[in-house]
């Protein structure tokens, strides 16, 4: 994040940052001032931080093992020794809900970063080199049409098919998520780079003799990456939903492993007969997590856009 803050034009309302630790301190103060002004952003960061901490500390926070089934206490309602009750096999729902973000977040974050790296990289190259020559136009058309084809697939069936092809494993789910999301980043980056490369400072760098790679790396990409970063957070939320959905139909994480979607699926039959807790709690956890990442994405969208950040920091005084 710091590299982005550095590369964007500095808004006039924020005093030019001094060097070193003081600069970091000022940036932090600005950040907290914004969180005070827009409490919903603070909620978002709070949720994401909490979920990450829970994922890291799950073994110490959970009262029971996430996969220890005690058949003598199956389907206990919430309360007593089991805070959120137990499921049909006698596993403690609270412990499982705490353990689930480990796998859900890991899959979503890795999948999203893979798609952002590949999609963003290819998008930047296509956007930068796209030009008048026939072969360049042909290559870019081909890449964009392939993206069209990928996006024309019914997302969910496509993801299930990918998991079926590569075998049911965490790696396959990551791959499916990466596949489904890559075209989004490809488009986003291409459009950004196309508009940035026409700017004067890119021209100046070219005239000064910088190589294409150096121009891309030093000037074009840092200035066009902001919307991609904002998209990342929102996309992690979606990917958690997709992972859960895949697990729900049985094409994702395999059953006893604690995962929110498969927990909802395991409680499916119980819900119909009246025991709501095995399904409802993991769903709520899922929902809160996705909301958190959505809010962080929204805040990044504002903070990384120089114009909107200026409006916001102007309203702080």
């Amino acid at each position: 994040m710091s590299s982005i803050a550095r590369s964007g034009p500095v808004p006039p309302t924020v005093p030019r940052a001094p060097k070193g630790s003081e600069a970091r301190f000022q940036r932090l103060r600005f950040f907290f001032a914004i969180l005070r002004a827009r409490p919903s952003f603070a909620v978002g960061y709070g949720i994401v931080a909490t979920v990450v901490v829970i994922a890291l500390l799950a073994p110490w926070l959970a009262p029971y093992g996430p996969m220890t089934a005690d058949p003598s206490v199956y389907l206990l309602p919430p309360g007593g020794n089991h805070l959120l009750g137990t499921d049909g096999t006698g596993m403690d729902i609270f412990s499982r809900v705490l353990f689930a973000p480990r796998i859900d977040l890991a899959i979503a974050i890795v999948g999203t970063f893979v798609s952002a790296t590949i999609g963003g990289g290819v998008g930047a190259l296509v956007g930068y080199y796209e030009g008048q020559q026939t072969w360049r136009r042909a290559v870019s058309t081909m890449v964009m049409r392939s993206a069209d084809v990928l996006q024309a697939f019914p997302v969910f069936v496509f993801a299930i098919a990918l998991v079926a092809v590569f075998g049911q494993s965490v790696k396959s789910i990551i791959l499916a998520i990466a596949f489904v999301n890559t075209p989004i980043y490809l488009r986003l980056m291409r459009i950004q780079v196309r508009s940035i490369r026409q700017l004067r400072y890119v021209e100046a760098a070219y005239v000064a003799g910088a190589s294409d790679l150096a121009i891309l790396r030093r000037h074009v990409i840092p200035n066009s990456i902001a919307p991609l970063v904002a998209q990342l957070s929102v996309n992690i939320g979606w990917s958690v939903l997709l992972t859960a959905g895949l697990s729900f139909v049985g094409a994702g994480v395999v059953a006893p492993t604690p995962e929110w979607g498969s927990m909802v699926a395991m409680g499916f039959q119980n819900v119909v007969t009246g025991q709501w807790w095995p399904s409802v709690f993991p769903g709520i956890a899922l929902c809160i997590t996705v909301v958190g990442f959505g809010l962080v994405g929204e805040s990044l969208e504002v903070l990384l856009d120089p114009e909107r950040r200026q409006v916001l920091s102007g309203s702080l005084r």
Partner: protein
């Protein structure tokens, strides 16, 4: 002018469709599991397996299989499913109306929730309605539809007993109406069969509500953004200065926001055809998405391919229709 536009669009769509079929063909061929073994069981002799593979064309090189598939697909033949032992085209034609009924009513519900709320939130820049719209926008995109479906079933079926059980589109005991459009609700309306109407409507309520609540989010967001922008634009200020009544001004602003809203609705429609799978499964809807998922999980190749092609064609048709609506709504595109 219009006809030429449509013709160009279709010309542009053909290579895309070809790409879709090619990718899904290769993908589906890669799914592990031998259909011959699945059909005949593990005890079948090597000879009968080879004979069956020959009969189904699986022993030929991949490119020959593909050209054969494309050739047959152009004539509407997508092979047959070994699970149902029927031609895929027949299976899909039987199931797609169910999916379309669910998705169309679900989308209508989403519009009914999202559009008025969006207009109201744009009109009132503060107050409870604006606040509620903000929260709704935030949460709607985060609710897993399969979870919401279960919660609705628990509340309205298990606890209150108001709705039909989540088992299919109509009660087992009730005879479905004669097929006209494929939608049970509309068909029983046309035929005038009150029993079938109330039964099929009762089964439709919860899944449609699920899809409506979840998918109203994007519609709400788009409506609110574009109407807000329209309300702060020059032409609205001019209309206000001329002293037109508030209601008329609002109507003009909403009219200007319509093309963007129609676009987001079309995107949602295309997405939902394959995206309502989870809701279909929970309510045992017997739709096309459910059929495709069954196919993937059982190495049944042809249903998956057929579904992908069908839904791609359907969403392309939807996009085309939406473009035409766009033509009618936005005078700038008429040139």
């Amino acid at each position: 002018m219009l006809l030429r536009y449509i013709a160009r669009r279709i010309l542009y769509v053909i290579p895309q469709l070809f790409g879709i079929i090619l990718v899904s063909f290769l993908l589906v061929k890669l799914i592990p599991g031998d259909p011959a073994v699945m059909m005949l069981g593990p005890t079948a002799s090597e000879q009968s397996l080879a004979a069956l593979r020959d009969k189904m064309g699986y022993s030929k090189p991949l490119w020959q299989q593909f050209t054969y598939y494309i050739g047959a697909a152009v004539h509407g033949d997508f092979g047959s499913s070994w699970q149902t032992t029927r031609p895929v085209t027949e299976d899909l034609l039987q199931r797609f109306p169910a999916t379309l009924e669910l998705v169309t009513f679900g989308l209508l519900a989403a519009i009914a929730i999202g559009f008025p709320l969006g207009v109201a939130a744009a009109r009132l820049q503060s107050g409870p309605v604006h606040k509620f719209a903000g929260y709704y926008r935030l949460v709607a995109g985060a609710i897993p539809d399969f979870w919401l479906a279960l919660v609705l079933i628990f509340v309205f079926y298990t606890r209150l007993g108001w709705s039909a059980p989540p088992l299919g589109r109509i009660d087992m005991a009730v005879a479905p109406p004669k097929t006209v459009t494929g939608s049970l609700v509309i068909d029983s309306l046309i035929v005038g069969d009150v029993g079938a109407l109330s039964s099929s409507f009762g089964h439709l309520v919860l899944p449609v509500l699920t899809l409506g609540i979840v998918n109203a989010g994007p519609i709400l967001k788009m409506t609110q953004t574009t109407v807000t922008r329209a309300l702060s634009s020059e032409f609205v200020r001019y209309a206000e200065m001329c002293g037109l009544p508030r209601r008329v001004v609002l109507r003009q602003a909403v009219r200007a926001a319509l093309p963007a809203v129609v676009t987001i609705i079309s995107v949602l429609y295309g997405f939902l055809i394959g995206g309502a799978v989870l809701v279909e499964i929970i309510f045992s809807w017997g739709g096309a998405g459910q059929y495709a998922v069954q196919g993937v999980l059982n190495a049944d190749v042809n249903p998956v391919l057929g579904f992908v092609v069908f839904s791609a064609v359907l969403s392309l048709i939807i996009y085309l229709v939406v473009d035409l609506i766009y033509f009618a709504l936005d005078p700038r595109t008429r040139g």
